[in-house]
């Protein structure tokens, strides 16, 4: 290996945190993973959680990409009709409960706005927390609107609305196994609902952490990640709606 140069004596390895020794002890080890919000650990944890979420959204996207490709393939397939001995297209478009879907879309978009408010409110609280702890300093009464609770209610409203949409489909004779198009309507909307339910569970977890008096920073991380997830779910829903409406 010609690129090697002779040994250069180097100083002791130092780390960004260690000032005296070369091997500083790990800070905060064994504290159960709950450092105080002001610790530098908090920013790293938030960033890691966001990175984890971005990675986690990839397979969810792949899941719906696979459903979409199945949808498009199935839509174009002819099928053999034994009664007439001919090849026919059996893709009968489902009459979607469009109005109900639009109302649901508005509810979901609104919930996306409220969870963003919750996210920002918590971020502000975390940022101001060190100031609160200074004796004698008052910031006045912070307005604390229950954005999270509102998001939770809106999310449940959306799911209830989806339930009504499925009831509506069934009432008009479109069941899961009625035809290929109705199968996909249930599959895509149901798959989305299951994923949104995951977001609702995360919000509930954040709510429970208030009751358990867990550190603000931990809750903030949960809410932050859930908010991004929630926005993704809103986008996914719009995509699904567009697919069902325009490619049926």
């Amino acid at each position: 290996m010609a690129s090697f140069t002779p040994t250069i004596p180097a100083p002791h390895p130092t780390t960004s945190r260690g000032k005296h020794g070369d091997l500083p002890p790990v800070v905060g080890g064994g504290d159960g993973g709950r450092p105080d919000p002001g610790s530098p650990d908090y920013g790293a944890r938030l960033r890691r959680a966001r990175l984890g979420l971005a990675v986690a959204l990839t397979p969810i996207m792949m899941l719906f990409v696979a459903f979409t490709s199945a949808y498009i393939v199935r839509q174009g397939l002819p099928t053999f009709d034994p009664n007439t001995n001919t090849v026919v297209h059996d893709w009968i478009p489902v009459q979607l409960p469009t109005l109900l879907f639009l109302v649901n879309t508005c509810v979901l978009l609104l919930s996306s706005v409220t969870i963003e408010c919750a996210r920002r409110q918590l971020a502000r609280q975390v940022a101001l927390e060190p100031v609160h702890s200074i004796p004698g300093v008052s910031l006045g009464a912070e307005r604390k609107f229950p954005w999270l609770a509102l998001t939770l209610v809106l999310g449940l409203c959306f799911l209830a609305g989806q339930w009504l949409a499925w009831r509506d489909l069934a009432a008009r004779g479109f069941y899961v196994a009625t035809g290929p198009s109705s199968s996909f309507v249930y599959l895509l909307t149901g798959g989305h609902a299951v994923h949104l339910l995951g977001g609702i569970l995360a919000l509930l977890a954040a709510g429970v952490s208030v009751l358990l008096n867990r550190p603000l920073a931990s809750r903030r991380i949960v809410v932050d990640v859930t908010a991004w997830y929630w926005h993704f779910m809103a986008l996914l829903w719009i995509y699904i709606l567009a697919l069902l409406e325009f490619a049926h």
Binding site: T5, T7, I8, S16, D41, T58, R74, A177
Partner: protein, 576 residues
């Protein structure tokens, strides 16, 4: 990059928190490893039954009785499924990846320890559900590890296609979810938790292979999950995604209009990357071991990284080569064929770089090295039949013959297993603090190498001679009579090979308790796991935070005091 992280959790005290529901990536890695170890013996036992049945089809086996044709097919299914998912996907990535990725990049643990634990226990449940398929009415499914519809999509299609197939699909779906959680952890850990100085291009090639494998898993398992959901709906809710109009026992199935080919597309979009999920970690370990025991830097580190990346990328564009028989347009087949043969280029780069690493090296022929060289040998001999099968004109006559099992067993099965063996012999001293018996390891190596070649090389010949695969009985086909002698030889070779694995098993457990004590760095290797205590403490580095100053494979550095420079040593090499 963040260099210091507080360890996410303190060392647990109780048995259950320490060994069962552990958050420690090292314990989770061992759990994965031992799960795979039980799985590999189950899978191997099933293959032995198949080999015995092929040459003595009417033999009445003790406890099992006579193997009926449907039993044979369920053996094929379960052998393939257990080996691919619970051995080749689980041990190299879940086992060694979990244990050594954080240590090699200088992190105290995985990014999300709870997710890591969930990932293992979901895999465990998937494994139990899979094994349960043996014990339900009708037995295990018949549809092979690829689960082709319509056989897999109809409850009444065969004896194992009822509850057995439902359990099979459920297990696969659970395994997908577990693998996705694992992949999420691997990617986040690699990107976010590397120690100070550990740039991406200073990572050991093992870490690169686990990272790329995780990306493949992240993209592939979601698609398999979607296919599994559709299949479950077809089976249980009456939809027709994969089922065309058809009759079974003279009656209409009630399904119409679906496409069995859609299943094949979705399955192989996952299935082909899965092949690389199984083999890439083996490539990483081989690179690591070859470099260490050649006492030379790996030849062409960057080329190795880019070759793995391009194998991963191309792996997503070739799934059609599994479907040349499906009546696909010759133009489509041509495109898939070209892309498939293009994978030969990065594969050849890797092979030549391995050979370049060995060239003029002062090789230490210790057991990990033997298995790594065995990996290269199997990779070449298994890989060379790839370009045959990549061409539609050759694949169509060879497709349903023994040629294909010969090909994929050598490259995906045995080569990946050799990667696991190399990793086991290489890292055993670090994990258990003791050395494995070298003499037994050598016997194990030579018996396994010769044994597996004796089982799988003749399959190519049998395939060319027209011996079909998946047939329960070959003795009734007159044109195969001249081949039965060779088949008998293969069965005896299989018995010897399986017996040789008992030597490994004995060596593993005996050395765990009775082996000579290992030093912290018995192989004089350079990567970070060899800088810490043996076995590594709970937070991997005993409260220290490693700092990386060197590349991963600095062996025989001119001017250095020893013939190797560890990654955490003071910088000695100015230019990389």
């Amino acid at each position: 990059m963040v260099a210091q992280e507080s360890h996410q959790h303190s060392a647990p005290q109780g048995f259950i928190r320490k060994w069962v529901f552990s958050l420690d990536h090292k314990v989770i890695g061992l759990q994965y490893y031992f799960l795979a170890l039980t799985a590999v013996f189950v899978g191997m036992f099933l293959s032995l039954l198949m080999r015995i049945h092929l040459i003595w089809p009417t033999a009445v086996l003790p406890l099992l009785g006579e193997i009926k044709p449907e039993t044979y097919l369920s053996l094929v299914t379960m052998h393939g499924t257990i080996m691919v998912f619970f051995v080749l996907t689980t041990a190299p990535q879940g086992g060694f990846g979990n244990y050594f990725l954080p240590i090699q990049i200088g992190a105290p643990d995985m990014a999300f320890p709870v997710l890591n634990m969930l990932s293992f226990w979901t895999t465990f449940v998937a494994y139990v559900v899979m094994l349960a398929a043996f014990f339900v009415v009708g037995g295990a499914p018949l549809h092979g590890w690829t689960g082709y519809a319509p056989l897999s999509a109809l409850q009444s299609a065969g004896p194992g296609q009822g509850l057995g197939a439902d359990l099979w699909i459920t297990s696969i779906a659970l395994f997908c979810i577990a693998s996705l959680m694992g992949a999420l952890n691997f990617i986040t850990t690699t990107l976010d938790m590397r120690a100070k100085g550990m740039s991406m291009m200073r990572m050991p090639l093992t870490c690169w292979s686990w990272f790329i494998t995780a990306i493949l898993g992240l993209l592939a398992f979601g698609v398999l999950l979607s296919a599994g959901i559709l299949l479950l709906m077809d089976r249980n809710i009456g939809t027709s995604f994969f089922l065309p109009l058809g009759t079974i026992n003279g009656q209409l199935t009630g399904h119409r209009g679906g496409s069995p080919l859609l299943w094949q597309h979705l399955f192989w979009f996952f299935g082909h990357p899965e092949v690389y999920i199984a083999i890439l970690p083996g490539m990483g370990v081989t690179s690591q071991v070859l470099s260490t025991f050649s006492r030379k830097p790996i030849f062409g580190y960057k080329a190795m990284v880019y070759a793995m990346l391009s194998i991963g990328l191309l792996g997503f564009m070739v799934w059609g080569h599994h479907m040349f028989m499906s009546g696909m347009s010759p133009y489509t087949a041509f495109a898939f064929s070209i892309m498939t043969m293009a994978i030969g280029v990065p594969s050849a780069i890797k092979t030549f770089n391995w050979l370049g690493t060995l060239h003029k090296a002062r090789i230490r022929f210790q057991s990990p090295m033997l298995f790594a060289i065995g990996f290269v040998s199997l990779f070449v001999s298994g890989g060379l039949s790839g370009p045959f099968l990549a061409q539609p004109a050759l694949d169509i006559p060879l497709h349903d013959t023994a040629f294909v099992p010969g090909h994929f067993h050598l490259i995906m099965g045995v080569a990946a297993i050799f990667g696991i063996f190399a990793a086991t012999y290489y890292w055993f001293p670090k994990v258990f603090g003791r050395m494995m018996n070298e003499k037994l390891a050598r016997i194990h190596f030579f018996l396994t190498l010769i044994g597996t070649y004796s089982v799988f090389m003749p399959m190519h010949y049998l395939g060319l001679a027209g011996q079909p695969r998946r047939y329960s009985q070959l003795t009734e086909l007159a044109y195969l009579h001249p081949l039965m002698g060779l088949n008998t030889f293969m069965t005896y070779a299989a018995i010897v090979t399986v017996a040789a694995q008992l030597i490994f098993l004995f060596n593993l457990f005996w050395s765990m308790f009775k082996g000579p004590k290992a030093s912290d760095n018995p192989w004089e290797a350079t990567t970070l796991e060899w800088t810490t205590a043996t076995p590594p403490p709970h937070d991997n580095f005993g409260g220290r935070t490693p700092v990386v100053n060197n590349g991963p494979y600095e062996y025989s550095v001119p001017g250095a005091t020893r013939d190797y420079v560890m990654q955490s040593d003071p910088a000695t090499v100015a230019a990389h």
